[in-house]
């Protein structure tokens, strides 16, 4: 079980990066990746929320929804758990640390609507992961997302002064670079013996 958790962890970061191979979290990825600083802030928040909510949703799913035969309500329940968790974290951070709040606070509301967070919880159910596997999957996916947005922000900063065909400015060029990044990440697939 531990071995599979480790495999899942690395697969989620590299070979099956949630952004580059499942296209999840694209909206905030495209809009936030303009600046490195904001990208780091959002990335860290995503790692934290993803890891926590995947474990939390696992508990809710296996101890509340399944015993009562309510698994068909999981979409609603998961999204509420995520929203409530984000809200709670926001309140705690606000009280505890002003520095942290200034750095992460504005990103937290953005996260509730980040498809990747809900995606991780849904994948975890379909693939029948254990609690540990779910947690490492959430953590790995978060780190993978963080890496992707960091790399993208770095590249976009360099592109600021580049000459780009008019039609490709903005979203177009970002998507092409994302495609290339996806290609590059596919190169990792020889790295892991899964299955």
């Amino acid at each position: 079980m531990t071995a599979s958790s480790i495999a899942i962890f690395f697969a989620a970061i590299f070979t099956n990066n949630i952004l580059l191979s499942n296209y999840l979290g694209m909206c905030s990825f495209l809009s936030v990746s303009r600046e490195i600083k904001t990208s780091v802030g959002l990335g860290v928040a995503v790692i934290f929320v993803m890891a926590s909510t995947s474990a939390l949703n696992w508990l809710v799913y296996n101890y509340i929804l399944l015993p009562f035969g309510l698994e068909y309500l999981r979409f609603i329940v998961f999204i509420i758990v995520i929203a409530a968790f984000v809200q709670l974290v926001e309140m705690v951070i606000e009280r505890v640390s002003e520095v942290l709040y200034a750095a992460l606070g504005i990103f937290l509301p953005l996260i509730t609507v980040n498809c990747a967070i809900l995606g991780v919880s849904l994948f975890m159910v379909i693939r029948e992961y254990s609690l540990l596997e779910s947690f490492t999957f959430g953590l790995g996916s978060g780190i993978g997302w963080f890496l992707a947005i960091m790399a993208m922000a770095g590249i976009r900063q360099k592109l600021k002064r580049a000459r780009i065909p008019h039609g490709l400015e903005g979203a177009g060029i970002t998507l092409i670079i994302t495609g290339m990044m996806a290609l590059a990440f596919m190169g990792f697939s020889g790295m892991l013996p899964i299955g």
Binding site: I76, G119, G167, L175, G179
Partner: protein
């Protein structure tokens, strides 16, 4: 009911220059993943269309009673309910497709378009108009993805809707059905459309 002019504008805007996908790059997350097969894309698009239009209508119907504090929660709840209906229906009547789509049906909930239209339009407009807006946004969203899926499946497997179109002379571009293919295809599509818009604007000058 609103003036016919506004109705027409509501319907046409999302299809043309205010298209949610290529003008605002919204909501591609949930569906881009299934665009390597035309059939799945069409069914997924129908699900999105169903959810955008009906959630727009419902939210607009009760918009005067929704308390501002819990607005987002109410919207999410309504959207999630419609998505569950899509999920249940697919599972009961098209079990094979349901299995292939896997978690992506559920991800319609976080599709930014639906939430975005609810916030920006349905909360301030009468039900009829909101329904039209939802349908138009859904169609505007779907046709872009269907075009992408068409080319991805054609170039990647030589097939359209599971039927072989290109003969045995065709070497499949496997990259098109793999994840990077979607990014490239979408970028090319955006390039093409934006190029046309830029040309039009220059011609207008």
């Amino acid at each position: 009911m609103a003036a016919p002019g506004k109705l027409k504008k509501t319907f046409r805007d999302p299809l043309g220059k205010n298209n949610p996908v290529f003008a605002q790059i919204l909501g591609i997350c949930s569906t881009l993943a299934v665009t390597n097969k035309l059939e799945n894309t069409v069914i997924m698009s129908l699900g999105v269309l169903f959810t955008t239009s009906l959630s727009g209508l419902t939210i607009s119907l009760i918009r005067k009673w929704i308390p501002a504090r819990v607005r987002m929660m109410v919207e999410t709840l309504i959207i999630a309910s419609f998505v569950i209906i899509v999920d249940i229906t697919l599972r009961a009547y098209m079990p094979e497709v349901w299995q292939q789509l896997g978690p992506y049906v559920g991800l319609i909930i976080t599709n930014c378009i639906i939430m975005g239209r609810a916030e920006a339009f349905a909360l301030n407009n009468p039900p009829g108009l909101s329904l039209v807006d939802g349908i138009a946004s859904g169609i505007g969203y779907s046709y872009v993805l269907i075009v992408i899926a068409f080319f991805r499946e054609l170039l990647g497997t030589g097939e359209v809707w599971g039927f072989t179109v290109l003969g045995s002379w065709w070497t499949n571009w496997s990259i098109m059905i793999m994840p990077p293919g979607a990014f490239f295809m979408l970028a090319i599509f955006i390039w093409f459309v934006k190029g046309m818009i830029i040309k039009e604007e220059e011609a207008a000058k």
